[in-house]
């Protein structure tokens, strides 16, 4: 009996019918439905024990003592550390996204060598370290031929870098500009020495002149905690806060009073207030009080109104508040944390001297120089600024053959960044030690990936603003970095050894532990989330009258306005572009699509002949920025305010090409009497397009 077509069809029909009585179809459908829920691109949870490990998160300038939550050893979230006396459980908006930033697409994944304009190839660490050594060796022993720029204000890494340079015969160690730098110079102009501190916690009236202390200035989280402690919910406030600055920012918005002071009039505002206080009976035992009094007398109520655009009643109100306060404090600072002249600092700090608040509880303090871990390192007080250095490179006065860039982004975060980038082009070999692919790394000849803060040892000595000597340290949270990176200081210490230098530490972990020992702190206790504090030094300051006599005043015409860069810590720092999670909090009146807004009050807009929503061009020096106008009555008279930290040309899809970099229109000038490069108080020309 053969199998014909009909017979075959019957078998198939029987097979189909039989299959219905087996699990094939039913299980197949079930498994297919499960399979469809398990696509390869769906992220999988990392399962394991959930732990919270103490860490020093140096993503923000001050550094937050945090707890990093891990699951199965991998970080997934950051929370505050309640046991830390500095942060008291708080965390800043940058460090809050620290775990996500470990996996940022902008991270440098492995050592990279430049092979053409804008082209890099990944190389092995041993090749990268050999290249570094090859380039440094012939420059050894030549003053200024090896230079370094550091963007880290507080770490022992600065000691390693400067000691390495000293050992190689170069003193070309430079720091990126910050408040700490200018404040140190200001204290010297007032006849003192050391880093100034501000006891916000102990004050009952805090006048912040420019300093955005509750958002982006100093130890932000500690400042916020002090503010919260003094103003408990439902109870009477124990301290008043006043913000005097160019814009109603996050700090001003929670203060008792906001005084809109143009950034070009900071010194004038302070001296007018000093004059009013002196007229109200304030006297000082400072040696230059008579000179100071005479200088302040020039800043009459009329002069105050002319320079600040404010009514004299504002001064009277402030004087009344000072008279009522038992422990007033004036905090001096630039509204965007850098670029202010030492004279602006002196003008504000002199009010503390006038009121007898130096060295007092709730007043201004002076911190002693911290002991060093590496004896040959440069003292922090003697640090030189990177902006001046790159200006010298541009003019050919400085001719380094190699530049080491550590945690700094001078090609983005210095005024006239195109000029800075051009100056860097004059340096034959540039090494960027960077965690992220920033604008400076994109110009480097060798990029050496640095670990993320939760992957490395690091420390923070006296973050700017602390009232007492303070030291924090941390160790890695994870067993292995996410990327193929090495601690920059480990790389440099190894290079130092091969160049015949001994800096007293073989690894950066050794250097940090040596620092802790020198300070008198227990490293293990610090790494477990503790903080070491010491006592401020005694000493007095004068009123800085001789320096203040040289304070310049800006000349503005019809089309020129004072320019106020605005920082918001959530939007990033000089070293860090806006964290991806934080792009959600950028307002539509700050950045719309790719257009940044310039904010000004209605009177300024009218003076400039522009309306809300108009597209304008802001120019200063050789720079130009386009923006949309947003009329905001929270901006000081005759002032245009714009956000800093946008307009990146590197980084990642979340920040690249969003807005414009307003560093382009910050102009640098030499401050009279101090020679410092300053750019706070820049002016811009605004034209409709």
């Amino acid at each position: 009996m053969g199998l014909d077509r009909r017979g075959f069809v019957k078998i198939v029909m029987g097979g189909v019918a039989g299959t219905l009585f087996t699990p094939v179809i039913w299980q197949g459908l079930d498994d297919t439905s499960i399979w469809s829920q398990n696509w390869g691109w769906i992220p999988r949870l990392n399962k394991g024990e959930v732990k919270a490990t103490s860490a020093l998160s140096k993503l923000c300038p001050a550094g937050c003592a945090v707890k990093v939550k891990t699951v199965g050893g991998l970080p997934f979230a950051v929370v505050g550390n309640k046991d830390n006396t500095m942060s008291k459980g708080g965390v800043c908006p940058v460090c809050a996204g620290g775990a996500q930033l470990m996996y940022s697409p902008a991270r440098v994944k492995s050592p990279m060598k430049k092979v053409g304009e804008g082209k890099y190839e990944a190389i092995k660490w041993e090749d990268a370290e050999a290249l570094l050594l090859e380039k440094l060796t012939p420059l050894k022993g030549q003053e200024g031929k090896i230079a370094a720029i550091s963007g880290d204000e507080t770490g022992t890494a600065n000691e390693v870098l400067s000691a390495l340079l000293a050992g190689l015969g170069s003193s070309a160690f430079y720091v990126m500009p910050g408040e700490m730098f200018t404040a140190g110079k200001g204290v010297k102009l007032m006849g003192g020495s050391g880093q100034p501190g501000f006891d916000i916690e102990g004050a009952d009236l805090v006048l912040m002149v420019g300093a955005d202390a509750l958002d982006s200035w100093g130890t932000t989280v500690a400042n916020q905690k002090a503010f919260a402690a003094a103003r408990p919910t439902g109870k009477e406030a124990a301290a008043q806060y006043v913000y005097a600055g160019p814009i109603l920012n996050n700090t001003a918005s929670v203060c008792d009073k906001f005084v809109p002071v143009p950034p070009t009039a900071t010194a004038a505002f302070c001296l007018a207030l000093a004059n009013a206080l002196i007229n109200a009976g304030a006297v000082s035992s400072a040696s230059d009080f008579a000179e100071y009094k005479a200088l302040a007398a020039k800043f009459t109520a009329e002069e105050f109104e002319k320079t600040t655009g404010l009514k004299p009643e504002v001064l009277a109100d402030l004087v009344a508040r000072f008279k009522a306060a038992k422990a007033p404090l004036v905090i001096a600072g630039a509204s965007f944390g850098q670029g202010a002249g030492a004279l602006d600092f002196v003008a504000a700090a002199s009010l503390n001297v006038l009121l007898g608040r130096v060295g007092q509880k709730g007043g201004m303090t002076l911190l002693p120089a911290a002991p060093k871990a590496i004896a040959t390192a440069t003292d922090r007080e003697n640090a030189k600024d990177a902006a001046s250095f790159l200006a010298s490179v541009a003019t050919g006065k400085a001719t380094p053959g190699a530049l080491l860039i550590y945690e700094a982004n001078p090609a983005f975060a210095l005024p006239q960044p195109a000029e800075m980038a051009k100056a860097m082009g004059n340096i034959a070999f540039k090494v960027s030690f960077s965690t992220y692919m920033d604008e400076t790394a994109a110009l480097a000849d060798l990029i050496l990936p640095a670990p993320h803060p939760y992957e490395r040892y690091d420390d923070a000595m006296n973050p700017y603003g602390v009232a007492k000597p303070t030291y924090l340290a941390g160790k890695p949270v994870v067993a292995k970095p996410v990327m193929d990176c090495k601690d920059p200081m480990d790389v440099l210490l190894a290079a130092a050894g091969k160049l015949g230098l001994s800096l007293g530490a073989e690894t950066y972990a050794d250097a940090v532990k040596a620092k802790a020992k020198a300070v008198g702190a227990d490293f293990d206790a610090l790494a477990a989330g503790g903080a070491w504090t010491g006592e401020p030094k005694s000493g007095s300051l004068n009123l800085g009258a001789a320096a203040l006599a040289k304070a310049p005043s800006a000349k503005l015409d019809d089309k020129t306005v004072a320019f106020a860069p605005v920082t918001k810590l959530a939007y990033g720092t000089a070293n860090l572009a806006t964290p991806p999670a934080n792009t959600l909090v950028v307002r539509d009146t700050e950045l719309l699509g790719k257009d940044l807004f310039v904010q000004m009050n209605a009177a300024t807009a009218k003076k400039l002949g522009v309306a809300n929503g108009a597209k304008v061009k802001l120019t200063a020096g050789s720079g130009e920025v386009k923006a949309l106008v947003h009329v905001n009555e929270g901006v000081a008279a005759g002032t245009a305010a714009m956000l800093l930290g946008f307009g990146h040309s590197a980084w990642d899809e979340y920040t690249k090409g969003k807005g414009d970099n307003i560093y382009k229109i910050l102009t640098v000038s030499d401050e009279a009497g101090t020679g410092l490069k300053v750019w706070a108080g820049s002016t811009v020309t605004v034209a409709k397009i």
């Binding site: 009996m1 499960i34 829920q37 024990e49």
Partner: protein, 203 residues
């Protein structure tokens, strides 16, 4: 006229084809009747119940031949290794940290221990154990909430097991054959008066 011609032609073709079909039918008489259907039916049933399970699952063995029996004979309880953490979460299969408490170095003569110590513990590498009852990420199962039940209510009794059972991995879904399906959870919940609302297990 033309239309009539085509109709007649079509009719003729139809008649011819019908004749062929009837011829085939005559020739096919007695060539199986319902038998082919039955053969196909039975073959499919056998294939579906016997061959299909072997085809849909691939067989895998654990990277280390772990003997529960030996450990149980040392007087250890399930909870000696499968512990609750301080926060109440369940550690599941122990990590090197736990195993190395006893096996940082080779302590016995079993070759499987040598494999574990040399290839995993001493290299700081976790053993990629195959999880028989791995649940997807969208299932939030709390061992703490089910602590009053015996382990063997849901898991096979491993105490006497000297060689880990074969791991059957579903080639399509990727899950183990022993992975508990939702209907089992729901049945037990229903039988014990526990809510079967979605949020009970899916957060």
């Amino acid at each position: 006229m033309k239309t009539q011609f085509f109709v007649a032609k079509f009719d003729q073709k139809l008649q011819e084809r019908w004749g062929e079909v009837m011829e085939e039918k005559k020739q096919c008489k007695g060539c199986g009747g319902a038998l082919p259907f039955v053969i196909g039916f039975v073959a499919a049933v056998i294939a579906g119940w016997v061959l299909f399970p072997d085809l849909i699952y691939s067989k895998k063995t654990q990277p280390v031949r772990f003997s529960h029996k030996i450990h149980q004979e040392q007087g250890m309880e399930c909870s000696s290794c499968h512990t609750f953490r301080e926060d109440g979460s369940y550690a599941g299969i122990p990590t090197n940290e736990k195993c190395a408490e006893c096996h940082a170095d080779i302590v016995g003569s079993d070759p499987a221990e040598k494999v574990y110590v040399e290839q995993y513990a001493q290299k700081g590498k976790e053993v990629p154990w195959l999880i028989y009852q791995y649940q997807p990420d969208n299932v939030i199962f709390s061992h703490k909430a089910h602590e009053s039940l015996e382990c063997t209510s849901c898991h096979p009794d491993m105490a006497k097991n000297d060689t880990p059972p074969v791991y059957y991995e579903n080639r399509l879904s990727g899950y183990s054959k022993q992975t508990m399906k939702m209907w089992k959870c729901e049945r037990c919940h229903a039988e014990n008066g526990v809510s079967n609302a979605c949020h009970v297990c899916h957060k």
